[in-house]
Amino acid sequence: MPLSSTVAANAGAPRRVRPLARRLQRGDQIAHLITLIFAATIFIVTALLFYELYTGALLTRQKFGWSFLSGTTWDPVALEFGALPFIYGTLVTSALALIIGVPLGVGAAIFLAELAPLGVSDGLAFIIELLAAVPSVIYGLLAIFTLVPFLRDYVAPLLQSTLGFLPLFQGQSYGVSLLAGGSILAIMVLPFIISISREVLLAVPREQREASLALGATQWETTWNVVVPYAKAGIIGSIFLALARALGETMAVTMVIGNDPRINLSVFAPGYSIAAAIANEFSEATGDMHISALIELGFVLFCITIAVNAVARLLILTTTRKSGAT
């Protein structure tokens, strides 16, 4: 409301003679100030979040120190808290999500951008963007009723009979597992990878393709050797966006991961992720120490996300510099 009244006031004022340049400059300053405030709020919110999490975790930081990160027991009765199983579960499910999701997603994006007819590409892109809007609890339900029995009855026996000598694929399979968490995350991050990668690939200038084709390259050689490297920074960006989403995903993961805070090498074993633990225990946590431990878990997740983003930035910087040099 105040915005439109300012506009109205300005619109009603032009009869008063004032140097045009000065008026414009005033507008500039106002715009500068307003956008600066908007930009600053993001910084302030992040800083506040960091501060609140850091101070909220005071009790456990004092009691456990760094051993909070390496401890493997999570016992709300004896008030002994160690975050390692949760960190492990978070990282493993996210890694599994990327291992499954990146080849699928980038492959699909290449097909949609380079090979498919435009109508098909646009139609599929629309559906993929719809997938990104499905609430995570829906994915979780889907996972419980279809993915989990499928993994338990088909995938696990197959992997155990072929690659069963690896510790990764040993032990009893209940269905709910790190693998189930990773798989549902892969499905959930696919839309991000596909739609962003597709846009990036489509944005590669025509001249790049034409030059390559003129030199006698086949269409696939052009795609793989020219278009994809040109779009590398953007594709990596989409992967890290997907990773950030996977790290923080709560609902779908907690429904299928088994929620068992123990470290198991096998991907068929149940695990626990940081976000799932906070969502599960916070509402009924009564002791100060328990709450502090959960807040510190949140702080750890926050730090992991920041680290991942920093790595993504570095990676994009180095790859763009390299491709710029060649």
Binding site: S4, A11, P76, Y174, N259, P261, N280, E284, A285
Partner: protein, 347 residues
């Protein structure tokens, strides 16, 4: 023109703002009483029914209840941000000490927790001894045809399969009641795991909420877990019998849960903070529990104090007649009488 439109819009907004402010300000006249409460999710259906009925009976009284969990209920009533709290597990001495005013516990209804399982090929009800349940959840009994289970279930054809234990992953009053029972029947559980709304489980998979546990049980062959009686009844889930302290195998129903509370009357402390798991009496279902309202003993606001006292009185009489329709077990009349004597403690 632009100016005119924006002035018009402005005027409209101002009028509507003023309008909504006025209606808000007018809403509570002098005798209107608004009471806020928060806490346990388990009794939420009956509480919202009670508060609705009470509002219908006395339109000037509005009681709001947010089911944010027992932990949140205890925290908020301790800090005085709500007029009353609600919890599935009684407050500890330490928690009571933190509160500014003394907090009183008033049992409202009873709930129970039942063992639910999915053993392919078994259609009969399995009869669980306390030793069997403790052994299974400690990870010591790992096969369905373990002698401890077989001896109690001679006519059931239990398979030679590994038991998959399923528990709640979210902090919950249901877990509290279940592990409270296990720690009463098993000294080893008491020393190794203990009692809380969430514990460090020796074995098993975690499901979120009753529906999460029920879903996992349904999906996992040879599994066993625990859910609230009310959830099992409403979803027609099969569940097993549990042997009570007198050795009778009992399938939980509303009457046997009320009997558990009646069995605990003799040992009932005056503040009602009592666990009635493994209660005495041959009809008492052993995994039962009260759920409590938490009410500060000193209430400054006279109107609120009066309403809360009257509501408690109504809840203990007329209110109790509504609980069984929603699958809660009602309070035994001995407990009702004790609570009515305790209401004047609110000052």
């Amino acid at each position: 023109m632009k100016t005119l439109v924006s002035v018009g819009v402005l005027a409209f907004f101002c009028v509507s703002c003023a309008d909504s402010e006025r209606t808000q300000a007018e809403a509570p006249p002098a005798d209107q009483v608004l009471i806020n409460g928060a806490g346990a999710t388990f009794p939420y259906p009956i509480y919202s029914k009670w508060f609705n009925e009470y509002h219908r009976k006395f339109p000037q009284i509005q009681i709001n209840y947010q089911s944010i969990g027992s932990g949140g209920g205890i925290r908020q009533v301790t800090e005085g941000t709500v007029d009353f709290g609600a919890t599935d597990g009684p407050m500890t001495d330490e928690q009571l000490k933190q509160a500014k005013t003394k907090i009183l516990h008033f049992p409202t209804v009873l709930g129970a927790v039942v063992p639910a399982y999915n053993v392919p090929g078994v259609t009969q009800e399995i009869d669980f001894t306390p030793e069997a349940l403790a052994g299974i959840f400690l990870g010591k009994i790992t096969k369905w045809n373990d002698p401890e289970l077989k001896n109690a279930n001679a006519e059931v054809n239990l398979p030679d399969k590994n038991i998959v234990v399923i528990h709640r992953s979210d902090g919950s009053g249901t877990t509290y009641v279940w592990v409270d029972y296990l720690s009463k029947v098993s000294p080893e559980w008491k020393s190794k795991v203990g009692v809380n709304t969430s514990v460090n489980w020796p074995v098993g998979l975690g499901g979120k909420g009753n529906e999460g546990v029920a879903g996992l049980i349904k999906q996992t062959p040879n599994s066993i877990g625990y859910v609230e009686l009310i959830y099992a009844i409403q979803n027609k889930m099969p569940y097993g019998k549990v042997r009570n302290s007198a050795g009778t195998p009992l399938k939980a129903d509303l009457a046997s849960v009320t009997a558990a509370a009646a069995g605990a009357v003799e040992t009932m402390p005056s503040d009602f903070r009592v666990s009635i798991t493994n209660a005495a009496g041959k009809d008492a279902y052993p995994v039962s529990s009260f759920t409590w309202l938490l009410i500060p003993s000193k209430i400054q606001d006279q109107a609120k104090k009066k309403v809360l006292k009257e509501f408690l009185q109504w809840m203990l009489t007329d209110g109790q007649n509504m609980v069984e329709a929603l699958s809660y077990a009602r309070l035994p009349k001995e407990v009702v009488a004790m609570e009515q004597k305790a209401i004047p403690e609110i000052e």
